[in-house]
Symmetry: C2
Subunit: 505 residues, 2 copies
């Protein structure tokens, strides 16, 4: 680790008293005791602490220390925590979101309890004291001000709430992150009811808070200097299939503008992460749309490109998390992006109040969808968690338009992403307005369940599965209740068949 000289340190830790708390990662990790609840900064591999969690994992590995911890975060974390802590078996309960193979495996083996939450619910669960209290918050920062305030790096998540509610705080000053991050955050938090006020945000581009996170100096128990880049996700390539999904979504948006239901600069865009989202934003880069705005959770590579090419003027999010190459480029150009990106606590980025007020266009990925428009975003075959619902529920429920996208098939056609009945519901029929696959899109607004089924089957299902689903629908309609026709003994048979034979066909 490249520990910088005193001048650097003074620039990063501007308060003398706090500078005296500098220690090493091992010593800081000794603050963490068995049974504690640890909350960490960061959101969707970015801005999470790296050194102290790794030191803890190493300590456990070498000394055989017995520890079981609850782990809270903004969203998913880098391998220095979720992977390393899973490998040494110290996570007892994890919430509200994760994306790590090793951890997912342990959750699905019944060895780690996982609570999959709406990301906007997490900070208020903490503020309302509905979860075990936080013993230690471990927070990454680029700097600490003269007043002892924390300047976060590239993922805000729940950091303001964690610092506020934790008994002790450990801060990692990451010297690998440019000071240019200073000024990108906009920290505004809400009071608990009955004292909560309207959040004074009317446009994605508005700043309503401070560029730092307040922190009582006495709470800071250790400062650790680090020099490690965030391990963000690799760039997901834009496949021809993603491109077709993107074209269908853009074609839908174009139709909305033509019908005067959307302004020509659309409304603020939100998108989940991954290849479809990337494809949509690359598609917008090459579209006729201009003056776009984003009100979302995570700024990915393609959204940076949308800002670069001038098609978008602002992106409001709770984290910047491009691919490793994209991150290198972004940090070199950070001054260009400084007035184009606003990073807010997830309490604000995902707040129903703001999402509904701004009329966000929400584009999220579905794992499976049923013929009536119910969406499963989380569970494989109804039992195994993949990642989690993340912010998709915050956005879909409150959006002006909620779009769910998926490839129509998976596993080379062995799975149809559209099934008679989803094996788990994360987004109900009431929250899903448009479905897009590479086959086309189905605008479900104003349609009854049966009307939705016909549209989805005809416009979104892969041709290999279309006759099978149409057959199910017609047979279901010919028996029993005809509002949402189903044959309960067959409704989940596609999943059962897949588990038994390896194919839904």
């Amino acid at each position: 680790m490249n520990i910088s000289n005193m001048k650097d340190i003074k620039e990063r830790i501007r308060n003398e008293e706090i500078r005296e708390k500098i220690t090493n990662d091992f010593k800081a990790s000794l603050l963490i005791k068995d049974g504690m609840t640890i909350a960490v900064s960061g959101f969707t591999p970015s801005g999470y602490p790296k050194a102290v969690p790794m030191a803890l994992a190493n300590r456990v590995k070498k000394n055989g220390d017995e520890l079981r911890l609850n782990l809270y975060s903004g969203a998913s974390l880098g391998p220095e925590i979720d992977k390393a802590w899973t490998e040494v078996g110290i996570i007892s309960k994890r919430l509200p979101y994760q994306t790590t193979d090793e951890l997912r495996h342990k959750i699905n083996a019944g060895e780690v309890e996982y609570l999959d939450m709406h990301l906007s619910h997490m900070p208020q669960y903490i503020n309302y004291d509905m979860l075990p209290e936080i013993d230690i918050a471990i927070v990454e920062a680029v700097a600490i001000t003269e007043d002892g305030f924390v300047i976060p790096t590239m993922g805000i998540g729940n950091t303001p709430t964690f610092i506020e509610k934790a008994k002790q705080v450990i801060i990692e000053i990451n010297l690998a992150k440019p000071l240019g991050y200073e000024g990108m955050a906009d920290i505004y938090t809400t009071k608990n009811p009955p004292n909560r006020k309207p959040i004074p945000l009317n446009h994605s581009s508005e700043r309503i808070g401070t560029h730092y996170i307040s922190c009582e100096k006495e709470k800071i128990k250790a400062i650790v200097l680090t020099h490690t880049q965030d391990k963000t996700r690799d760039l997901t390539g834009v496949s021809p299939v993603s491109n077709r999904i993107s074209e269908n979504i853009i074609s839908f948006l174009r139709g909305e503008v033509k019908a005067n239901r959307l302004p020509s600069d659309l409304l603020p865009l939100q998108s989940g992460v991954g290849s479809v989202a990337n494809a949509v934003f690359y598609g917008l880069c090459h579209s006729e749309f201009e003056n776009l705005t984003c009100y979302t959770e995570v700024v990915q590579d393609s959204m940076l490109d949308l800002l670069r090419c001038g098609k978008a003027k602002i992106a409001s999010a709770t984290a910047v998390s491009p691919s490793p190459e994209g991150l290198y480029k972004f940090e070199k150009e950070i001054e260009f992006f400084k007035d184009k990106i606003i990073l807010r606590p997830q309490e604000i980025s995902n707040n129903p109040e703001i999402i509904r007020r701004l009329g966000v266009i929400a584009i999220n990925t579905a794992m499976e969808i049923d013929i009536y428009g119910n969406v499963n975003s989380t569970h494989l075959m109804g039992t195994k968690i993949m990642n989690g619902i993340g912010g998709s529920g915050d956005f879909a429920r409150n959006a002006a338009i909620s779009i769910f996208a998926t490839e129509s098939i998976a596993k080379k056609g062995a799975i149809s992403s559209i099934v008679p009945m989803v094996s788990h519901v994360d987004h109900t029929e009431h929250d899903v307005m448009v479905i897009a696959t590479e086959q086309g899109y189905a605008d479900l607004r104003g349609l009854s369940p049966k009307e939705r089924a016909l549209k989805i089957i005809n416009q979104c299902v892969h041709p290999d599965y279309r006759p099978l689903l149409m057959d199910y629908f017609h047979r279901a309609f010919s028996q029993g209740g005809k509002h949402t026709p189903h044959i309960l003994s067959e409704a989940l048979s596609w999943h059962i068949k897949y588990m038994e034979t390896g194919s839904m066909k």
Copy 2:
């Protein structure tokens, strides 16, 4: 019909030009043509138009006029519309909610298309032009002001939006409703994004709008005088079982106050309609709680009693809808209630922004619940609609605490209200914090799916079904994914068994 004298009419219709539009119900009904979309005032049998809809139904019955109409409302309607129009077969599509036997039957027979929507979504679907446009709004009022503004009766619902967006407006002045309603409404509506502003409401007791609904005079095509009382629901008796559920809910709330998670006057209360809700509010009348507030959809008998006994100081809702006896009493005491009840458009009463800001305690009824906390509020055996989701989703998702209540069994024990997997999901595991039955309550906050299952089975399930569910859970855990253990081939078997044998046992 007791048509009043000119003095009465001048008091009720204070604008001369509009007085000249007085006609009879039959003539007004002639404005309604085949293929039209008709939107009506009112919310949960109260404040709906009565004479013109009946005149239309009679016209169809007598003349055999062929008509098919889309019917929009706030929520459920009285028999003069949903029953009468169903019987003459003129409803093509109905949204967003209904509770009428005859209509439900036609929906489940596949003869009427029904769209079951979140009640807060309805006004914005209209404002965003996402639904077929409204040809005629039929609106009940107690009076029309000098300026031609409409003074609504006891159910606001979507009336402001319907009047704003309809091409033509028919107004029924209901002389049976006291003028004392004037002043109870607080009409505030929002602009469409990107011009929407924060809704300036900080407490249930605040008034932020006007006591009338604006209406362009030219749009008013007919005024009809009526003298018919609203056909509200009969009072549902408080059964011993409802009382036990109520005691469990109140006991939970008491624990929250004791743990300092709720103030001693709680937070604003919302409740669905029906016997459990009534029991809870009667229970609160006799509890230690004081200075209560309500931020809800509908004011029922028991909420009026809570205001009468001084335990609650304010009830904000979109409708007053007590039983026929309760309504008679309420209208006699209307001056007493005038500063204690605020009636808002459902756009505001059910707005996620306000519900989350105020930190509402939401108490809604479940039709069935599964062991992981997913709730079905709408579908019998997964296929037949009962009523609809109503506002339960608006409240449960955004509440500070969301409670779902149900009797643990139905049909004299032939049905367990708690099943391995619900046959339809309206509220996902992410939105359900507390479950209460007459057996006890399960506080699910902070629990993983498996932890939730154990708590629900042990604390809420009827003893007759407890061993069966525990057996299912353990066998499911011993195979397959262990995050949300299920045996897909058995997950819906309880429903199938009930349909085949008449019992889940």
